[in-house]
Symmetry: C2
């Protein structure tokens, strides 16, 4: 029997989950929940109902795993502990510094109710975290590097949109090739922010706006751009639509470490992602974690889990026997 | 209290384990076991005893995890089931096609004795297997590629050494850059053997040997070289010693896969290793698996496990809380 997936929140991530469910034959979409008027939400999957979020609890029996697609700033800190009381849940909470607090809150809700809750599924946190942990386990004497991009940063794009005279913006984060090459060569440099990434903004300005002033306001913006080398390109609305509608992303996790009696040998472990669609890849990781959550719940486990707690085989549709025979 | 490690077999891998134990502060070397005369085996760690392999069972109380450093052809199929009766063990069994059989034999020995046995720890099988499984779990619609090298293949070096007129050989396996670049670009070509790797042999010939004949015998050797483009270089014994004493290796695991309602988006996941010392890196993975085996045994688990069954956090010395706060 297929794993019945519920989706809470139908934005970019919710649609990505819907696609991931379609592409995983052992899953089926059971229901979509929204805070909007359900009548206004048109989903892609035929024959599946859209309910108001307030009704979710009433459908707990129809859903094996509820995937929470809200934002990390205000939605998930409330939603994940709330729904973990009634459902096996997965979220993609990505506010790294608040993970311990979120973990504690979710664990306190899930455990007494016998549910499994997987938090922070995605690629960072998620696949990148896994690679940091594996590389640290294997090479205790070493140094970690994480680079992001090339890809669209929604937060930085939003920040530029708030600059006076800016109508629209797409901001790309770009890893510095020179730094990557040094680390791949076995060097372990201490890099400042400016040496790791550059930023590139494609901006549609309001008619008659002072372009030089806009550029100045962007490149000097504290926290977002002041510490980076930033390039600003002014483009038309048509160019924005034509060339910058996609949400690509990716990045690199590298650990360079030493082994040997006198640490005389160097090793470089590198993991990289090159993603055409950030929300769809994130959704694909979440779907695999939903499978694992379902299995853990079936086995009688409960409480909050992260991808660091999940045996890799639990994420895969194939049997343990198949994995040992064909992938090990 | 440190995890007490025993080493069975003191060759390249055994020495690598000894170095890994030194570099992992939560481990200590308890004993080394050898089939040679223990008096002739000089180890690097001071104050640790070398015993004959036949005495191993008598020292079961002094060892938390016994690491089996024999070969996969004849040693491990016997040793791992045998020692799994008395010890928590880890091996690096790397005969991919016989893993299911080895798993069954080891499980049958470990489980009734309440021991944990981790098999096939290393990088392939091992870290590469993990990456194949994670990438398949996340991108069910896709294609896998594994490339090895640039690195020394012991099996191929040995094969050349058996050619008449050859005194010594070091054979390097080299991944084809052109194939790698196509796959990184999102293509999913069907590649024949010759398109994936090339082979390069550095050969010391016997004095007066027919070099043209040696080269012919190498490049046409079935199974080992006939299906590859192979280059043969004749060098002196001095050059061999000076330039080819190290055992570097590495490789790439890449999965290219599609997501979206109509599979319209492509993603490339790549994992790569660049290793100065193949045996020391393999040993480092084994050491991390020994830590996990120790913890699983402490929790009351038993039976045969592979790295696909181990929650990633079990491999790391740091606490779950630390990992969530700093690496997730």
């Amino acid at each position: 029997m297929a794993i019945r997936i519920g989706i809470m929140g139908y934005g970019n991530l919710g649609r990505g989950i819907e696609c991931a469910v379609k592409n995983n034959p052992d899953m089926e979409l059971a229901a979509v929940f929204t805070r909007r008027d359900p009548a206004t939400v048109k989903i892609l999957t035929e024959g599946v109902s859209v309910y108001h979020a307030d009704e979710a609890k009433d459908h707990a029996d129809e859903v094996d795993v509820l995937i929470l697609c809200g934002g990390s700033a205000t939605d998930l800190p409330v939603q994940t502990p709330e729904y973990a009381k009634y459902f096996t849940v997965v979220d993609s909470f990505d506010n790294h510094s608040k993970i311990p607090e979120h973990y504690a809150n979710v664990d306190a809700a899930a455990k007494p109710n016998g549910n499994v809750a997987v938090i922070s599924a995605g690629w960072d946190p998620g696949m990148f975290s896994l690679n940091r942990v594996y590389a640290n386990a294997v090479l205790p004497n070493g140094k970690d590097y994480t680079f992001w991009g090339k890809g669209v940063s929604q937060g930085h794009s939003d920040a530029v949109r708030r600059v006076a005279g800016v109508k629209d913006c797409r901001q790309y984060t770009i890893p510095a090739t020179s730094a990557l090459e040094r680390i791949r060569g076995g060097e372990t440099p201490d890099l400042i922010t400016r040496e790791k990434h550059t930023r590139e903004c494609f901006v549609v300005a309001e008619e008659g706006a002072d372009l030089a002033q806009i550029e100045h306001n962007i490149v000097t913006m504290p926290a977002y751009f002041a510490d980076y080398d930033t390039t600003v390109h002014f483009i038309t609305e048509e160019e924005m639509k034509r060339d910058h509608s996609a949400l690509p992303h990716g990045g690199f996790v590298i650990r360079s470490g030493k082994t040997g009696w006198n640490l005389e040998h160097n090793h470089v472990i590198e993991y990289s992602l090159k993603l055409d669609s950030n929300p769809e890849f994130t959704s694909s990781v979440i779907a695999a974690c939903a499978r694992a959550a379902y299995r853990m719940k079936q086995e009688g486990m409960s409480g909050c889990k992260t991808i660091l707690d999940i045996p890799p085989a639990y994420l895969c549709a194939q049997s343990d026997e198949f994995l040992r025979a064909h992938m090990l």
